[in-house]
């Protein structure tokens, strides 16, 4: 599988379809992979793909220093492809501004899991592919099991639960850095005139930060789980994200990452909305 991927990546670079391959390379340990940025096809063998290639590489495509490398071809798992689609929807990448080297893994983290290369895709092609192959796997009962457990708690208990989780937050913002959707030039938490969100790691500011982070993902989160994986304090951020995904699905029948040409669901309204709050 990796030979196929490398061959395709090499071909793309040599033909000039992209000027940089953003992929995974060998990490410092066996169970770690690290992002690589390859502009010279001679380095193509640095590329690997295995069940430890967690990172969502779409975080890099919006960054100025990586934009300078030119049109990217990015190794992308399903969630990463969705991230590319949302980025296109939000005009952060152009529909034809990148190629996706679509890969799948039977189960991330399981050392013997089988990996697959699905081919080179543009963003619109990726969207079609996902609709066929990945949409049924969204918000399944298994994925929502933990959310529903938490939702069953009475409001006070739920508040106490999250307060306790967020108490541990050390405000390292690893969740934000790992998230492909957090591409603002200045995060709201860094705006200090006035300082809406307290930056020190105390319970009130932590609660505010974590809620703001989750709210800003409403209708955008691609459920890649990078925030939770990046969190050094093991805060269950995915449950919070999924609770919002569930709300968005039930309120607007919308799953993010399947409509690169559409409008962001939280930024639009219809005058004929059946809910009367809008009138």
């Amino acid at each position: 599988m990796i030979e196929q991927l490398r061959a395709k990546a090499k071909e793309i670079l040599e033909k000039g379809d992209a000027s940089v391959i953003i992929g995974y390379g060998r990490g410092s340990r066996e169970d770690v992979a690290t992002p690589v940025f390859i502009t010279d096809s001679a380095r193509i063998d640095e590329m690997v793909f295995n069940p430890h290639c967690y990172n969502n590489l779409m975080t890099f495509v919006t960054r100025d220093d990586h934009k300078r490398l030119g049109t990217p071809a990015v190794v992308a798992k399903e969630c990463d492809m969705k991230a590319a689609i949302v980025l296109a929807q939000e005009d952060q990448v152009k529909e034809d501004g990148m190629l996706l080297l679509s890969v799948s893994c039977e189960e991330m983290g399981r050392a013997d899991a089988a990996c697959r290369f699905n081919g080179v895709m543009t963003i619109p092609q990726a969207e079609e592919w996902l609709k066929q192959n990945y949409l049924p796997a969204e918000l399944t009962p298994e994925k929502l099991a933990r959310v529903e457990e938490i939702e069953k708690m009475p409001a006070q208990e739920r508040w106490a639960f999250w307060s306790k989780e967020f108490e541990r937050c050390i405000r390292c913002y690893a969740c934000r850095q790992a998230c492909p959707m957090c591409y603002c030039r200045q995060c709201i938490v860094e705006k200090n005139q006035p300082q809406w969100l307290s930056t020190s790691a105390h319970p009130a500011g932590n609660m505010a930060w974590n809620i703001v982070r989750a709210f800003h993902l409403a209708g955008r989160c691609v459920d890649c789980g990078e925030c939770e994986r990046a969190c050094p304090m093991d805060i269950p951020l995915v449950s919070l994200n999924r609770a919002i995904q569930k709300e968005v699905k039930s309120a607007f029948d919308y799953v993010s990452g399947y409509d690169h040409a559409g409008k962001p669901v939280m930024a639009t309204f219809r005058k004929d909305d059946e809910e009367d709050f809008i009138k």
Partner: protein, 659 residues
């Protein structure tokens, strides 16, 4: 160093009854930055405003807080006063201690404490306020009038006669509206058509009026002085330029039995038709639902007989875009479906009809050429029962409001009936007789005293047919007797409702409407023809049930507001608009998508060599309405709203929490 003046208003007793205004002023005097604090009975009065002006001058105030009523009421008043004393008006703010405090609390201690909090908040805001300067925008001196009934006709004529251009849009094939359907009008009994049709002709021939009939409003964008309106000209299938209105097509059309809307179903029309002979324009339209060319693809008779070749079956809807500076909404009303009241037998018995149908029976141009003949057998009815309040003032099944016109037109009906059928007897069942208006009560008395109408104060419980008679069972609550009338015909005075498309239209225009979809005026007493959206005015029954005199008066009022607006070349706009921080904007376009006014533009940032570097959002300040949606939706807080910026709001919240 801030030197803020605090002015606490008693609003007579309105505030002072619940709030210790003197204590509010005393406490406020000690707030940081406050240089002056007083209370006064009527701050909005001339001496009250002088208190503010003098203090600004003498104490060199840098900001003003007026603790009084809602800013909706008097913010312009106090800002004007501040400006007259040389202070930038946007350094003057109001703390609403009436609607938000005294009117909603009883406990004096609690209310006073809350009033003090409100003042503290606004003092902190004013400390962070910046002077703002009005934005000047040009005015397009052309008005749009929506609806070609008497309200729209009057408004259009008044504006046009005032020397300004008007576009009149009517959704039906002819202007005239409901008034064209009426027989004679109360309280003077002049013939409705005789007073209306000359005005219709005047509209059509007025050099300042552009008439779009059979057209509807598709989309409205923009703001006062600068609206852009898309009008859908529905496919008429008749070329208005070629058609001479000779009527040959209507004569020859084989589809002759379509119930006429204008005759309320009492008469028939053809598939190519004009609603009534005096229609303006007097040119027909093809009703595609019934025309054989459209239903079966063959016929073509009208095209064959038309001497000028005006028939065009291929005609398509056309969208025209017009720029206007003001809009008058005059879309009128409809009447309630009488079959909601099954016990009255409407729809079941042909001789139970509505008031509007009776108008057509009375009309000289109607299906019976003005003779009162009942629909079932064409006989002249000798006993006619009129039932008022069918749907009106009925919380259970109808609407709770009074439809206002029914008492008068029912008296008129009884009177005209008697004038036409001398040996006939009219019976009227009423709840109350509401005849407030010049010569109105006299008119009703005449119906009763001179034309012998029998008035029963009570409701009708049931109407059924027996031996060719309509048995009307009712009660006379004044005598306590039950009444039975064996009638030949029954006329129901059905409730006046808002137009079916009032709500979508209001949404297109961004104007408010009440729970019955009547359009809402800006203030029920002092701004009765304005809407809450600047530049949009109301005329006629789209706002509430209204008779012709009131409608015409309101239409004239709306026209004068439009002419007032058009009297200057530029408009001053409040400078409360959004501003984008281009440093931090990442061009995610959430604001662009969310803005209901289309005020956000995509702007390219260029470097010194003129190369495009990146995109950012940009606010078009003449379009921005300052609603703040972009401000709220921006994830990185890169949009600020002037006059309500983050620093100011933060200061307000801080003032409340760091007491």
């Amino acid at each position: 160093m801030a030197r803020i003046g605090v002015f606490v208003c008693h609003c007579g007793e309105n505030i002072a009854r619940t709030v210790d205004c003197a204590r509010v002023a005393e406490t406020a005097a000690k707030f940081p930055g406050v240089a002056h604090a007083v209370d006064y009975t009527y701050m909005c009065s001339d001496p009250g405003q002088n208190l503010i002006k003098e203090a600004i001058r003498e104490k060199r105030l840098t900001g003003v807080v007026v603790a009084a009523c809602s800013p909706r009421m008097h913010e312009p008043t106090f800002r004007r006063a501040a400006a007259e004393a040389g202070l930038n008006p946007f350094l003057c703010e109001m703390a609403n201690i009436r609607e938000h405090v005294s009117w909603v609390h009883e406990d004096r201690e609690v209310a006073t404490a809350k009033a003090i909090d409100h003042v503290r908040i606004m003092v902190e805001k004013v400390r962070h306020n910046e002077p703002l300067y009005p934005i000047r925008v040009p005015i397009t001196k052309k008005a749009l009038v929506i609806g070609g009934g008497i309200a729209g006709i009057q408004a259009a004529l008044d504006i046009a006669n005032g020397g300004q251009e008007v576009i009149l849009v009517e959704k039906e094939p002819s202007i005239g509206g409901h008034m064209a359907q009426l027989s004679e009008t109360f309280p003077t009994l002049d013939c409705s058509q005789c007073i209306l049709t000359p005005r219709m002709v005047e509209v059509a021939s007025h050099p300042n009026i552009t008439l779009y009939t059979y057209s509807e409003i598709e989309e409205v964008e923009g703001f006062i002085g600068n609206f852009e309106v898309k009008i859908r000209k529905k496919a008429r299938s008749v070329d208005l330029n070629k058609c001479t209105g000779c009527g040959l097509c209507m004569e020859k059309c084989p589809m002759k039995k379509i119930p006429s809307e204008f005759e309320c179903g009492l008469g028939a029309r053809t598939a190519i038709y004009r609603p009534f002979p005096q229609a303006v324009p007097a040119k027909p339209v093809i009703d595609r639902e019934h025309c054989l060319m459209f239903t079966r693809g063959k016929c073509g008779t009208c095209a064959k007989v038309c001497p000028t070749g005006a028939i065009n079956y291929e005609d398509q809807d056309e969208i025209v875009t017009e720029k206007v500076g003001a809009i008058v909404v005059a879309t009128g009303y409809r009447v309630m479906d009488a079959d909601l009241y099954g016990e009255y037998g409407y729809g079941k018995y042909p001789d139970v009809i509505t008031g509007m149908q009776f108008e057509r029976l009375l009309s000289a141009s109607g299906p019976t050429t003005g003779e009162v003949r009942r629909p079932s057998d064409g006989k002249i009815p000798k006993k006619v029962v009129f039932v008022q309040c069918v749907g009106s003032r009925d919380n259970a099944r109808g609407v709770p409001y009074c439809s206002k016109i029914c008492c008068m037109y029912t008296a008129k009906h009884a009177m005209l009936y008697k004038h036409k059928v001398h040996d006939g007897q009219a019976y009227v069942f009423y709840m109350d007789i509401r005849a407030g208006g010049k010569n109105y009560d006299e008119f009703v008395r005449r119906a009763i005293e001179e034309d012998d109408a029998m008035y029963y104060r009570g409701r009708v419980s049931k109407i059924y047919e027996e031996n060719g008679k309509l048995i009307v069972k009712g009660v006379d609550t004044l005598s306590g007797l039950t009444i039975q009338v064996n009638a030949d015909m029954v006329v129901l005075a059905t409730a006046v409702l808002s137009q079916e498309d009032a709500e979508p239209l209001a949404q297109k225009l961004s104007i408010s409407y009440d729970e019955y979809d009547f359009l809402t005026e800006a203030h029920p007493k002092l701004r009765p023809v304005e809407t809450n959206t600047a530049g949009i005015f109301l005329a006629g029954a789209c706002q509430a049930p209204k008779d012709i005199p009131d409608t015409v008066a309101q239409a004239g009022g709306a026209a004068s507001k439009v002419l007032g607006l058009f009297s200057s070349d530029e408009l001053e706009r409040e400078p409360v608009i959004a501003r984008v921080n281009e440093e931090t904007c990442v061009a995610c376009w959430r604001c662009y998508n969310a803005c209901p006014y289309g005020a956000i533009e995509k702007k390219e940032i260029k470097d010194r060599q003129g190369r495009a570097v990146r995109w950012v959002a940009h606010v078009n300040e003449s379009v921005c309405a300052g609603c703040g949606l972009c401000n709220a939706i921006c994830p990185s807080n890169s949009v600020e709203l002037d006059g309500f910026d983050d620093e100011q709001l933060y200061a307000e919240i801080g003032a409340l929490s760091n007491e």
